[in-house]
Symmetry: C2
C-alpha cells in the first residue's frame, strides 16, 4: 500500500488520486480551491483545502512521510515549481510533477522533479497511435522498433489459425503473444490455435511493419 | 496512409497531428488562432487558420474527404459541439472529439461522436497505474481482471530462470510473454530462460495479484 499525496485536484490530479484510492492506497488530496476540495471529499478520505507556503506546512500535514507526491497544478507555473520545491526540501523521496510547456518541464527537471508528466501530449500520442492502425486499441513499447499491440480479431481472421495468419513464431514480423477469449487467457498460443469471433490478441510487432497488419477497423 | 483532420492545435491536438504526420500520414491542421497556426506550420504540411461555421466551409477545405477528424478544441464547449456536428453533417465517416467534463462528453456522444477522449483523465489513469506498482511502466488491459505489464527486470531477478521466478506458464498468476534484450525480442521465452541485467519483460498478470509481483522500484 502506497501513501500518495496529490496537490492540485483538477481533472488530472483528481483522476490520479481517485484511481489510486480505488486500489486501496492511502491518498492525501490538497487543493487551494474550496470547490475542488468539496468535489474530492466524496471520493478521497483525506482532503485538505490549503496552499503550501513553506516546508513547515508540508511537515504539519505529514506530507513529508508519503511514498510519492504528485504536483498536478496546471496553469500556475510558479505555484507548480514552488510547491514541488517545498516537497523536495521537506524530504519527500519521489515527486512527480505535471508540466504545461516544454520549458516548464525543463525547469521542473532542473529543480529536481523525479518525473515530469505532460498529460495533454501523452494523451495526444495515445490517440495518434490508436488512429495509426485502426483496430489497435492499446500498445506497449518494448524498444524504439518493437511494440506489443492489443487488437480485436478482425472478422477476416476468425476461423483461421495463427500459422495461416502469419502470427506464429515462424514469421517473426508479428507474433501473437496471448489471446484473451472471454475470461480465458491463452499465453503463448500454439501455431494451430484457431481464432474465434471476439478474441482479443496481444501481438508483438516491428513498428515499421505496423501498417502491414491486415486490420480493418470495426 | 490515413488522411486526418485535426481541429484545434493546442497541446493535445498538435501532438495528435504531429505524431501522425511523423508516421507519414496526411494531416490537415485547423485552428482559429494565428499563433497556434504559425507554431504548427513548422511541423505540419497543411495548416489553415480558420473557424468552421457551416458545412460549406468543411467541404471547401476538403475536410469531408478525410478518414478521420479529431476535434481537439478544449475550453470552448460550444465550439467543440458545433464543430463536431458540422463535420458529421458534412459526412466525415469518423469523428473523435475531446471532452472537458463528463457532461460535455455525454453531449458529444448523444450528438454522434464516434469516440470521446478525456486527455487529462486518461493521463491521470496512466500515471496512477505506473505508481501503483513501481517498476511497471506500461500496461495493456486484456480483460477487467487480466493485463499485460511491462517492467524492467529488478536486480533480484538477474541470473534467475523464469521458472525459478515463477514467471513461466507453470504458474498461471504471472507469465512472461516476451523479453526484450537490447535489440532482440524473445517471444514466448522458455521456462529455463535466465534473466539478464537490463532485460525488459512483458508479463501477463491477474490484476488482483499485481502487488505480489516482487518488484522493487529502481
Ligand atoms: N498553489 C496551489 N496549491 C494547491 N492547489 C492549487 C494551487 N494552484 C492551483 N491549484 C489547483 O490545482 C488544480 C489544477 O490546476 P489547473 O490550473 O491545471 O486547473 P485545471 O485546468 O482545472 O486542471 P486539469 O487540467 O487537471 O483539469 C486546480 O484545482 C487548482 O485549484
Ligand atoms: N472554434 C474553433 N475553431 C478552431 N480552433 C479553435 C476553436 N476554438 C478553439 N480553438 C483552438 O483549439 C485549441 C485548443 O483549445 P483549448 O481551449 O483547449 O486550448 P489549450 O488549453 O491550449 O489546449 P490543450 O489543452 O490541448 O493544450 C486552441 O489552440 C484554440 O485556438
Amino acid at each position: 500500500v502506497q501513501q500518495v499525496a496529490v496537490i492540485g485536484l483538477g481533472r488530472f490530479g483528481l483522476t490520479v488520486a481517485r484511481t489510486l484510492a480505488g486500489w486501496g492506497h492511502e491518498v492525501y488530496g490538497i487543493d487551494c480551491e474550496e470547490e475542488q476540495v468539496q468535489h474530492a471529499k466524496d471520493e478521497l478520505t483525506h482532503v485538505v483545502q490549503t496552499e503550501l507556503y513553506d516546508v513547515a506546512d508540508v511537515k504539519e500535514l505529514g506530507l513529508d512521510e508519503v511514498d510519492v507526491a504528485v504536483v498536478a497544478i496546471g496553469a500556475d507555473i510558479e505555484a507548480s515549481i514552488l510547491t514541488m520545491t517545498l516537497l523536495l526540501e521537506a524530504g519527500v523521496r519521489r515527486v512527480i510533477t505535471r508540466a504545461t510547456t516544454r520549458l516548464h518541464g525543463i525547469i521542473l527537471q532542473r529543480v529536481g522533479a523525479h518525473d515530469v508528466i505532460y498529460p495533454e501530449e501523452s494523451s495526444g500520442e495515445m490517440l495518434a497511435r490508436s488512429l495509426r492502425a485502426p483496430g489497435i486499441t492499446e500498445h506497449i513499447e518494448l524498444s524504439s522498433q518493437v511494440g506489443i499491440n492489443k487488437l480485436l480479431a478482425p472478422d477476416e481472421w476468425v476461423g483461421h489459425t495463427l500459422d495461416e495468419l502469419r502470427l506464429s513464431a515462424a514469421d517473426p514480423a508479428f507474433i501473437a503473444l496471448a489471446i484473451q477469449r472471454g475470461d480465458e487467457t491463452i499465453a503463448a498460443p500454439a501455431p494451430e490455435e484457431r481464432i474465434r469471433d471476439g478474441d482479443v490478441l496481444a501481438v508483438v510487432c516491428q513498428e515499421s511493419k505496423l501498417d502491414e497488419l491486415p486490420l480493418v477497423a470495426r
